[in-house]
């Protein structure tokens, strides 16, 4: 089959797509049950680090794709932060053309295999699916995205003709990888500087293997490398190389995506006891440094009773990692109720299947230590939900005198991060917001004309898809600026 044009594979009006729409009645489509993700058994998976979700097989994926009604005004796309052409990739799956589904995805998303695994679909695309209005489960868009991304052939990235311009990228997380991919495709020479010894940022040090295998991330990095992107580890921009150094190296533009650095603590008594640590520390030890695996030198505390403070994805990753490190009792301590938890529904479900306890409406007020300075118990204030606050969530209020004490030997604090101050502190003239994030305009350009920024250093703590979207947006804007300058010179 000769390769179809992008227009043919993505347009709703292509003949194959019309045929596909007419091939089944809506009632037949809606009668199909939503696919079940193939997943490892909970009892087995907590003994290892293998990916919990095994993915859909081809038959399941094509069947799930046939559920999609191919709406003329697809709500799902409005729920996607980067407006992926969702019906187009799904219909390509339905007709069995997985490679074309992959092409549609990659036209908008640099990291579909990653986003298919870590996006909070129930709050984005799937939350706008027409099926919900019918009281049915939405089309499994995230699982289909993952299926297409995992199984589509990667076209050999045709090297774009070099345009002679050189761009520097600070950090190598999702925003940077996405930015690098876009700029590479436009013919720029891209040089990425990463402070750690691994490329991938939060995708490597933060998100555990059982949720996002490193091999999935490495495939994306390798593709960029083959396309000519240069990656340098162990370089801290602002320290190893100063802003002036970068200027002297004749970079035409700089994209800063250095991420959210500093872990937040709650500033309560006992928080500096041994055994109390940030989720960043715990996850970095295990994910990046291999702690707990034979032969790796980095130590990690293997608690018997572990409490993780917080209700986000990082909290779920931490508590489930603690189980895999041998915890006999692992619990989430969260000050609001489960309905307010920011974590993806799937992570909460998986955590519960694995035996995690949920102490919702509890908030730590103090940690108690033994004579060796190790945490041995936590005191929790019981809470109730009061009136909704500014962002519409009901505010948790302490219940007078309702304090419980629970023995623990490890506490992982996962209550958010603050932007990494390293870059803002080391580049003069870079405007910073009150929260410490970089100030950018609607095109993600900072107060310095050469510097664009995106991801958590701008947002303070968001999602992979938003960071990735920033990378793409900043690349487009920087390209407009730089190509405009070129035409001015002619």
């Amino acid at each position: 089959m000769s390769k179809q044009s992008f227009e043919e594979i993505s347009s709703r009006e292509s003949s194959w797509r019309r045929d596909l729409r007419e091939s089944m009645k809506a009632s037949e489509r809606t009668a199909i049950e939503r696919a079940q993700m193939n997943e490892l058994d909970a009892a087995y998976r907590i003994t290892c680090n293998e990916e919990v979700n095994q993915g859909l097989d081809r038959e399941q994926a094509m069947r799930e794709a046939s559920r999609c009604l191919d709406c003329p005004n697809p709500g799902c796309m409005t729920g996607c932060p980067v407006s992926i052409n969702i019906p187009a990739f799904i219909k390509n799956i339905q007709r069995g053309d997985i490679d074309s589904a992959g092409r549609v995805l990659r036209a908008t998303s640099a990291l579909p295999a990653v986003c298919g695994r870590v996006c909070p679909q129930e709050r984005q695309c799937e939350s706008r699916c027409i099926y919900l209005k019918m009281g049915k489960q939405p089309v499994a868009i995230g699982w289909l995205e993952r299926f297409a991304a995992d199984h589509a052939a990667r076209e050999a990235d045709e090297p774009a003709p070099a345009n002679g311009k050189k761009i520097c990228v600070v950090g190598s997380g999702p925003a940077s990888l996405s930015f690098a991919g876009s700029m590479m495709a436009l013919g720029y020479k891209v040089v990425v500087y990463e402070a750690l010894h691994e490329i991938g940022g939060v995708l490597k040090y933060g998100i555990p293997e059982f949720r996002l295998p490193n091999s999935v991330v490495d495939r994306e990095i390798d593709a960029l490398r083959r396309g000519g992107v240069e990656f340098h580890t162990d370089i801290v921009v602002g320290k190893t190389l100063s802003y002036d150094d970068l200027l002297n190296m004749n970079f035409d533009g700089i994209f800063v995506a250095s991420g959210a650095g500093l872990p937040r603590f709650m500033d309560i008594p006992g928080e500096n006891l041994n055994g109390v640590m940030s989720s960043n520390e715990f996850l970095t030890r295990v994910n990046l440094m291999g702690a707990g695996r034979p032969g790796y030198a980095t130590p990690v505390r293997k608690g018997h009773t572990v409490a993780v403070i917080g209700g986000g994805n990082t909290a779920m990753d931490s508590v489930r990692t603690a189980l895999r490190m041998g915890a006999k009792r692992a619990m989430i301590v969260y000050r609001r109720s489960e309905a307010e938890m920011p974590a993806r529904a799937e992570e909460v479900t998986h955590a519960r299947q694995e035996g995690v306890e949920f102490l919702t409406l509890h908030n730590p007020v103090e940690y108690l230590g033994n004579e060796r300075g190790e945490v041995c118990a936590m005191r929790l204030q019981q809470m109730r939900l009061g009136e909704p606050d500014a962002d519409g969530r009901r505010r948790p209020e302490p219940i007078d005198g309702a304090i419980v004490e629970i023995p623990v030997d490890e506490v992982i604090v996962s209550v958010g991060v603050s932007p990494n101050p390293l870059i803002p502190n080391s580049i003069e003239g870079l405007q910073v917001t009150r929260r410490g994030t970089l100030e950018v305009d609607e095109n993600l350009r900072s107060s310095l004309p050469l510097i664009y920024a995106g991801g958590d250093i701008v947002r303070g703590g968001a999602t992979v898809i938003l960071a990735m979207g920033d990378g793409r947006k900043a690349a487009a804007a920087m390209h407009r600026q730089l190509s405009g300058e070129t035409s001015d010179q002619h």
């Binding site: 402070a195 750690l196 010894h197 040090y205 580890t233 162990d234 370089i235 801290v236 320290k239 190893t240 190389l241 100063s242 650095g261 500093l262 872990p263 603590f265 500033d267 928080e271 500096n272 041994n274 055994g275 640590m277 940030s278 960043n280 520390e281 970095t284 030890r285 440094m289 291999g290 032969g295 790796y296 030198a297 980095t298 130590p299 990690v300 505390r301 293997k302 060796r372 300075g373 990494n420 101050p421 390293l422």
Partner: protein
Amino acid sequence: MFSPKVAKLVVEAPLIARSRRPGHFVIVRLGEKGERIPLTIADADVAAGTITLVIQAVGESTAQFIGLEPGDAFTDVVGPLGHATHIERFGTVVCSGGGVGVAPLLPIIKAMKEAGNRVISVLAARNKDLIILEDEVRRHSDEVIIMTDDGSAGRKGLVTNGIEEVIQREKVDQVVTIGPAIMMKFVSLLTKKYDIPTICSLNTIMVDGTGMCGACRVSVGGKTRFVCVDGPEFDAHQVDFDQMLMRLKAYDGATKK
């Protein structure tokens, strides 16, 4: 080798050699399964593109480091990290170093001297064999006092005895102390008594070294600070050394397991 447990390594790292200042540290890793270890930079040669590290074997990784041969390489060296030492003309500065703490102290001694200070260096160790870099320190100091626990070099006594002797003899404007946490604690207690501003350089447990993990947190003036990005130098009188000593033991059990 300075002694069976202490070695000097000269590491090729041209970018770091060029940008480092006294007080900065690096993180090194040896082998793909190695851990990230923070080490304060003792010296650098910009022309040769090298930095000098002085390493004491205290655990498995540092024991491997001191066994490295010329021509061997670290898997990773990243830096310079942390804030550089604040150098100015204070007047008389006492620079006190204990054990391998003398190595990162040396560039500060040099810089303090170059800034026009009268520099009195007080070096301390358990015995004569553990006194390092004495000649280099002498070259850049107006006076050097050596203290050993057993009296095998210099005078018998603790670093605090040497410092107190200077304080009682003349006006001291600034003290710098680098060494084991317990030593810095007692230096800090001493200079607090005399109300002499004192900076210390803390070497805590770290993982990333760039402000990401918080393993290095210490309590300074009642507030939690991160040694890697807020330090490594702090006002010694504000540091909760007892908490720091406790936190240094965080993985004692884990590494033995």
